[in-house]
């Protein structure tokens, strides 16, 4: 064979001029990664997230140059068309691939969008897993001051992002509604002056919501994000409110909010606790029956009280079992013709099935902290993420970037930000660097730090890794096993990008 005669520069790369390109076995590999999906199937994923599902053993054949252009014509064509192999050392369409790559990382262009204002730490609930809130009337100590609100708004509008989101969190944000009004009106004015887009969101348990508050939200186009953990017996156990049912207040609040603001202006988030794990079907049904178009099956955060109380401890395996049962139920609704999504799946599927990425801070690389989100705490401290401020409540200030008195540059590009940036891309992390799901997954230094004691993280024991790897694998397995599911998933992914 001709290639054997030449002086090879390496075991694998041969001088390409010596190749007879018509000879079917001579092709170049392009960057891609591999994972076993089931006992029979494996997946290969290229640098821009395109994938092929193949019978076991195919990856080995591809690498060993055993795919024959004539005999394996279909596979060969797929591999070429999807940028897994090339007949030239540098594929002629590399610029197309580069543009695709840029599209996947487009979120970097915008920089920080989500600005969380912890407007008050006060709350009237005493949820067992909540690590931050205080049941108190002391406004001076636990509400964000007007001066800090001003500084936060000032920093927010320094973001290069042409559309910023201002999200009010608590405690219970509505306890400081006067301050919210002040912040909204001030920010609206500046947004108009600067020609920037501004989205406003209030995160609230809705227990103290009134028509008056909602009328104001309507007038100022403020979205409501509330918490609903499932049916009453789950929600009320998770979210303890002295002398009242948190569930009843939440449901009543959702109805009222929808009536005044419009159905789609109200969203709900659930937190999975140990108790929730026994009720996957009931939780999904609750969301469906309340007229939501989907549910976000979130892992409980490992921070603060949640980490320290036995009540909230459970293993990732149990969460995955819960997740799969819940997803089955969701698919059942879809089989019956309803459009009802699971939002974690939707994030992954958008990355798997479309050329786009999703601006979801927990699943980005480089990570969403600073790049996508920043938190202004009630006391003027600035944190990289919502979880970072919860760590701070336990006196762990690892992710404190500074205070609202610091300059924009010091906060966003300072020493701390630079330190975190060393490990915020999964492309460069051990374990992730050769993981087939790298493009679909992300990096979460705060989670690594909170659960494993260092920002870099150790993938073999990481619950973040275990959860993401299995859910992605499972979604792919489902799509491969049932064409109806693939169609449903494609629809979810498509609507996520519109």
């Amino acid at each position: 064979m001709e290639a054997n005669k030449v002086d090879r520069k390496s075991r694998k790369f041969k001088d390409f001029e010596t190749f007879d390109l018509k000879e079917s076995t001579q092709y170049f590999l392009l960057p891609f990664r591999f994972h076993r999906v089931t006992a029979e199937k494996e997946i290969i994923v290229n640098e821009v997230g395109d994938y092929l599902i193949l019978p076991n053993g195919t990856f080995e054949k591809i690498v060993k140059r055993q795919i024959n252009k004539e005999i394996d014509a279909e596979l060969y064509g797929d591999l070429i068309a999807n940028f897994f192999i090339s007949e030239q050392a540098i594929p002629p369409l590399i610029d197309v691939l580069a543009t695709r790559y840029r599209t996947k990382k487009l979120f970097l262009n915008y920089f920080t969008g989500l600005h969380i204002f912890v407007i008050s730490l006060r709350c009237e609930h005493t949820c067992h897993y909540c690590q931050v809130s205080r049941v108190t009337q002391n406004r001076d100590l636990y509400d964000m001051s007007i001066a800090n609100i001003d500084k936060g708004i000032d920093i927010m509008f320094k973001s290069p992002n042409s559309h910023v989101t201002m999200e009010f969190q608590g405690g219970e944000a509505l306890l400081a509604f006067d301050n919210i009004k002040y912040a909204v009106e001030k920010a609206e004015k500046i947004a108009i002056e600067l020609g920037k887009g501004l989205t406003k969101v209030i995160c609230t348990n809705l227990a103290i919501v009134t028509e008056e508050i909602l009328e104001y939200c309507k007038e100022h186009k403020i979205l409501i994000s509330t918490s609903l953990d499932g049916p009453q017996y789950v929600h009320d156990k998770n979210r303890h409110k002295p002398h009242a049912s948190s569930y009843e207040l939440a449901v009543k609040g959702i109805e009222l909010s929808r009536k005044i603001l419009g159905h789609d202006q109200v969203s709900a988030l659930m937190t999975t606790t140990k108790l929730s794990l026994d009720y996957p079907i009931e939780i999904v049904d609750e969301y469906f029956n309340l007229g939501f178009q989907g549910i976000f099956l979130r892992n409980i955060s490992p921070y603060g009280f949640a980490l320290r109380t036995d009540k909230s401890k459970y293993e990732t395996d149990k969460f995955l079992t819960f997740y799969k049962k819940a997803l089955d139920r969701i698919l059942d609704y879809n089989f019956k013709g309803h459009y009802f999504t699971e939002d974690l799946a939707r994030i992954f599927l958008t990355k798997i099935l479309t050329p786009f990425n999703v601006g979801f801070v927990d699943l980005q690389s480089p990570a969403g902290l600073i790049n996508g989100v920043i938190v202004f705490n009630y006391d003027g401290a600035v944190y990289a993420t919502d979880e970072s401020r919860m760590l701070a409540e336990q006196k762990d200030f690892t992710f404190k970037l500074g205070t609202l008195d610091d300059t924009y540059n010091d906060l966003f590009f300072g020493k701390k930000a630079q330190e975190i940036s060393q490990i915020w891309a999964n492309e460069g992390l051990t374990g992730c660097s050769e993981c087939a799901f790298q493009q679909y997954c992300g990096a979460d230094p705060v989670h690594n730090h909170a659960t494993q004691g260092d920002m870099y993280g150790y993938r073999p024991t990481s619950d973040f890794c275990q959860k993401n790897m299995e859910i992605i694998r499972y979604l792919i397995e489902l799509m491969e096993s049932d064409v109806r599911i693939k169609k449903i998933f494609e629809r979810w992914a498509k609507t996520a990008t519109h």
Binding site: F13, P31, V63, Y101
Partner: protein, 126 residues
Amino acid sequence: MQFQNKIKDNEIIVFADTSLYSKDSIFKCLYWYGDKFHANLSFADSNTYRVSVKPISTTQLSSDELENLLLKLERDLVDFNLRDIVTKETQNVRDLLIAKAFSNGEFDELPPGEVSDPVGFNPNLS
């Protein structure tokens, strides 16, 4: 000398030809065993790696479990070696791709300056 993969005293031992398996790939493979096993890489002789994993806990694994583990390690070593081949062979194209993706057109032809060339493939020839 002929080496035989084996299970001995609760330890899985696999041998790998140094001309076929890269050290990097073996370490990348063993990384994933570190949560439950003592993992070790050494030389059996100058042409052979000795790869071993031993459960961290004192609990004895059943012989079936050990047998499955041996199979898994053998398979993982092959998988990681293949991954390593792809990573190394494609490093230049990957660098070029990412440079192009984040450039403002300056990489639309060839990358200026020296491109790292660990496997002897010279992109400037294209």
